[in-house]
Amino acid sequence: MSAAADGGDDVRSEMRAFIEDNFLYLDPDAELADDQELLAAGIVDSLGFVEIVEEVEARYAVGVKDVEITEENFGSVDAIARYVERKRAGS
């Protein structure tokens, strides 16, 4: 396993835990799949995505531009992990 993949897995588990704690708190038995679409499934609303963006900025020390707040970058746990990896790689 490469270092990059390791990092991605950390982001996945941390962000999955963040989303479960903050958005699935009334449904503790719910299993959040990493490819689950957070907006379409009604798990996270627009304001919730701003909270996720703030968490990503604080936890991973990356700056998120407004135009980057899209479902492509934040729409699922997988998408967030890929986005953070790209930002860390400097792209």
């Binding site: 907006l39 627009s46 304001l47």
Partner: protein, 322 residues
């Protein structure tokens, strides 16, 4: 081949609509056991049209108009509402709510929320909240401030500051409603709510604020229909030609940039098309958008309904028995 799509003003008979709404408003007020109607008038098109319908329904002597200005909106709105009262021949009372809002900490809490985003913000700066362009995806809200030298700056609102800002400014609508019900108690009148169909359907109101009322005469009218009704009622031209605003922030702010993401004319057409099952491809040319953009707008209409269901929900109550 599909026929050309229609819109909310096609075949709309404003005079007949006024007659029907006046009959229904009178019946509703009587049905509630009230003796007249209290209408808070901002000088905007919706409250003016609703007031005009109430005067038609009940007569000017049974309609009490209120003007409830506050610091951020200034006197122009109250002046227009006074012109309306004179045109309708109804009593109008002005009760500024600035002191009440100061006492409740509205401005102080609002300023604290703004300083989370602009730490050097001074209360003398003007400001407003704006949304990102419609995308059928994530909507991001930003705060715009105007410094004393006229320069403007826009920054994304963090979630906590956004909620604090809305909670503080929602006090304006809730204090207005408190004044309306105080007058309603005093006169045994009903309180008239003034949302139009777009606002009512899409949840653009404050729960316990402008969303609270006994009768909402124009909640079934598209915005363009409200304008047609206002013109048919012969309301002052200064009101019927005025651009809608939110009356909430110190910088002029349209409903388009804060909430709907489209002009009201376009939003009317999109909502009408959505409600009449018009295929996005058929509506596209009429509204000057691509079929894909219309699809995005339809999706936003649905999403906003879901997101604001809580605002419409009555209190949940339980029975003592299972």
């Amino acid at each position: 081949m599909s026929s050309a799509p229609s819109g909310p003003l096609d075949g709309f008979d404003a005079a007949a609509c006024i007659d029907r709404l006046a009959v229904e408003t009178a019946r509703a007020v009587r049905g509630l056991g009230r003796r007249g109607a209290v209408v808070a008038t901002s000088g905007g098109i919706d409250s003016s049209a609703a007031a005009g319908i109430c005067v038609r329904a009940l007569g000017p002597e049974r309609v009490r108009l209120l003007r409830l200005p506050e610091r951020d909106v200034g006197d122009a709105s109250s002046d227009l509402a006074l012109e309306l009262a004179q045109a309708l021949g109804a009593d109008s009372i002005e009760e500024p709510i600035t002191a009440a809002l100061e006492g409740l900490g509205c401005y102080e809490q609002r300023d604290e929320a703004i300083r989370e985003v602009f730490p050097d913000y001074e209360p003398s700066w003007k400001h407003k909240l704006v949304r990102s362009a419609p995308s059928a995806s994530i909507t991001v809200f930003s705060l715009v401030v105007e410094r004393p030298d006229g320069t403007r700056e826009q920054r994304r609102m963090p979630a906590e500051a956004y909620l604090s800002l809305l909670a503080a400014t929602n006090m304006k609508q809730r204090v207005r409603k408190l004044r309306e019900y105080t007058w309603a108690d005093r006169l045994s009148y009903a309180v008239i709510g003034t949302p139009n169909l777009l606002e009512y359907d899409q949840g653009f109101f404050v729960k316990g604020g402008d969303g609270l009322a006994d009768v909402k005469p124009i909640a079934g009218l598209y915005k363009g229909q409200v304008y047609a009704v206002a013109r048919e009622l012969g309301l002052p031209e200064a009101i019927t030609s005025r651009q809608p605003t939110t009356e909430t922030f110190s910088l002029p702010q349209t409903q388009e940039e804060f909430y709907f993401g489209y002009s009201y004319e376009r939003m009317d057409e999109l909502m009408w098309g959505h409600e009449h099952g018009t295929d996005p491809a058929d509506l596209a040319a009429r509204v000057g958008m691509s079929a894909e953009e219309v699809g995005v707008a339809y999706a936003e209409i649905d999403r906003r309904r879901t997101a604001t269901a809580y605002l419409h929900a009555p209190a949940v109550v339980f029975s003592p028995e299972s």
